[in-house]
């Protein structure tokens, strides 16, 4: 059975004088390495340059607001139930009169905490959410933390900023690069990925 046409017949013949002199072979090798010396480097300078991770990358959590700026979350607790790592903790509260501008439903999450050491970024909370409230961003990581008090993220870090909303405009790498180029040219100025706090 032949799988590829790259197979080579191995032979045990005596080397010719030219081959035994090594020097031509060494020169060939040196030429190859010199070619690589001047070749374009494949390195991506990570902290300065970030590679597009794809439209379905699951990164930093976000609690979405709706178009009027009201929090979508109704504190049903389905995300916490779906979470296999038990990373989500919710305390529900009832909406008071005059708070209609802040919360869309009559019940809301007074406390919504994600334990970032427990979270495995599986995205099951996204799938469980009936209100389209919780998402894992495709464009941001959870920043590195070193202290224990930075482990549990509350609503102050999770709820969406209305001035810098999270959308997912592109669904392929090519589209993403095109959009980036347009942003760089100033043709599109809608959403700029926000800096990590």
């Amino acid at each position: 059975m032949q799988l590829t046409n790259r197979s080579k017949q191995v032979s045990n013949k005596e080397m010719t004088l030219m081959e035994r002199a090594y020097l031509p072979a060494i020169a060939t090798g040196l030429a190859i390495t010199l070619k690589h010396f001047f070749a374009k480097k494949v390195t991506i300078q990570y902290p300065e340059v970030k590679r597009y991770l794809g439209p379905v990358f699951r990164g930093r959590h976000i609690l979405k607001r709706d178009e009027d700026g009201r929090e979508r979350c109704t504190a049903c607790g389905l995300c916490a139930v779906a979470c296999p790592a038990e990373a989500i903790q919710i305390v529900a509260a009832e909406r008071e009169k005059g708070e209609e501008k802040l919360y869309r439903e009559e019940k809301y999450a007074a406390v919504y905490e994600v334990n970032m050491l427990r979270c495995i970024f599986c995205g099951l909370c996204e799938e469980a959410c009936p209100k389209q409230a919780v998402y894992l961003r495709h464009d941001e990581f959870i920043p590195v933390f070193a202290d224990r008090d930075q482990v549990i993220w509350g609503k102050d870090l999770l709820v969406e900023d209305m001035n810098n909303r999270y959308t997912r405009e592109t669904w392929t790498k090519e589209e993403a690069y095109e959009l980036n180029a347009k942003r760089a040219n100033g043709e599109v100025t809608n959403v700029v990925p926000r800096a990590i706090p």
């Binding site: 040196l30 390495t33 010396f37 480097k41």
Partner: protein, 359 residues
């Protein structure tokens, strides 16, 4: 000795010493950069622009690590090993002619640590001592791997020194002088020895790879067989000294190669440049600037050979031990002897013929 002469000599030696150290330091950076570039990556580029502060960071790390000596090691020899390696590596740079002369108020200062009429013998003596550092360090570690590495280093150095010396004899037959300064000045005007001794050059180059324990002859520190070879037990700055000594050796042998085969500080069109400079700037300043250009050319050649060492390191795989010995004893030594015979015949018969024909 006059005081002025003493001061001048001291300064020259200090400058040579510092230059050697700085070049060795930046060779570590260069090695990593070259390795990176050949492997299609960037190499160190975080410490300073282009990673230029990397050697300082490495040295700082080495200095602040625990200076550990194994319990069963021979304590004094364990310390003596890296010191000897460093000492012998640095000693060899003393006789290298870096340039012609500086003129200053009627005095001629030679750009050479020590002008010795047996310069090349001195280099060979000191380089041969270099193996003591490795031997002593490897033995004192009281570790099988270190000892094996040290034994390999010793046998390898002894084997290749023979071929190296033999290849050099051909040069000495042509120059009939052992002084490095004399050998360089004889190559003035494009008469570089490489054109007369291509075979000798290849033998010398191969042997200097082996003497410096560089790839493809780095069997003394072969990681796949001997953990780290002779420096398995070493850490902190003692390890740093061993690695540093290797880079100094590399610079010294690159300098020796460019002195012996590539005309040292000579370059084509040297006399024309000299005439132009002395004509425009006077005999003192013009002469000094011409000397500086020659020194720059010399360093260019030496640095190219350091690059060549690295280039080869990231191209060729390591030799097997028996292959190493076969190459040294069965190929290079007969070739070197053949080269001597050819050179002797050429000096005896061909040279009078050619000179007669040219005149």
């Amino acid at each position: 000795m006059e005081l002025a002469e003493f001061v001048i000599k001291t300064i020259t030696i200090l400058v040579v010493f510092v230059l050697t150290l700085v070049i060795a330091m930046y060779s570590t950076w260069g090695e990593r950069k070259v390795a990176g570039f050949i492997q299609d990556r960037m190499g160190p580029n975080r410490a300073g622009p282009g990673g230029l502060l990397q050697p300082l960071a490495d040295a700082g790390k080495m200095f602040f690590k625990e200076d550990f000596i194994p319990a069963l090691a021979n304590k004094w020899l364990f310390i003596a090993g890296p010191s000897l390696a460093m000492l012998t590596a640095l000693l060899a740079s003393a006789v290298i002619p870096f340039g012609s002369t500086f003129r200053w108020e009627g005095k001629e200062v030679v750009l050479q640590g020590v002008e010795s009429n047996i310069g090349i013998l001195y280099v060979f003596g000191v380089v041969a001592l270099g193996v003591y550092g490795i031997m002593i360090g490897g033995w004192a570690s009281n570790n099988k791997f270190s000892l094996l590495g040290a034994i390999r280093a010793a046998s390898q150095n002894i084997s290749y020194e023979v071929a190296m010396g033999l290849s050099l004899i051909a040069i000495l037959m042509m120059s009939s002088s052992l002084s490095l300064g004399e050998i360089v000045s004889q190559q003035h005007g494009g008469n570089w020895n490489i054109f007369y001794q291509p075979l000798g050059f290849i033998i010398f180059l191969t042997c200097s790879f082996a003497e410096c324990n560089r790839v493809p002859f780095d069997l003394p520190e072969c990681e796949t067989e001997l953990v780290g070879g002779y420096h398995t037990e070493y850490g902190s700055m003692k390890l740093g000294f061993y690695l540093f000594a290797e880079y100094i050796n590399m610079f010294v042998s690159s300098a020796i190669i460019s002195v012996l085969y590539f005309g040292g500080y000579n370059y084509p069109g040297m006399d024309w440049v000299y005439d132009q400079l002395t004509g425009a700037l006077g005999t003192q300043t013009g002469h000094n600037i011409a000397t500086l250009i020659g020194t720059a050319v010399f360093f260019g050649k030496a640095l190219f050979f350091i690059f060549f060492y690295m280039w080869v390191r990231w191209t060729l795989p390591r030799f097997r031990y028996d292959q190493l010995m076969n190459l040294g004893w069965k190929k290079l030594i007969p070739l070197a002897i053949f080269n001597i015979i050819i050179t002797g015949a050429a000096v005896l018969f061909l040279k009078p013929l050619i000179t007669a024909w040219l005149n």
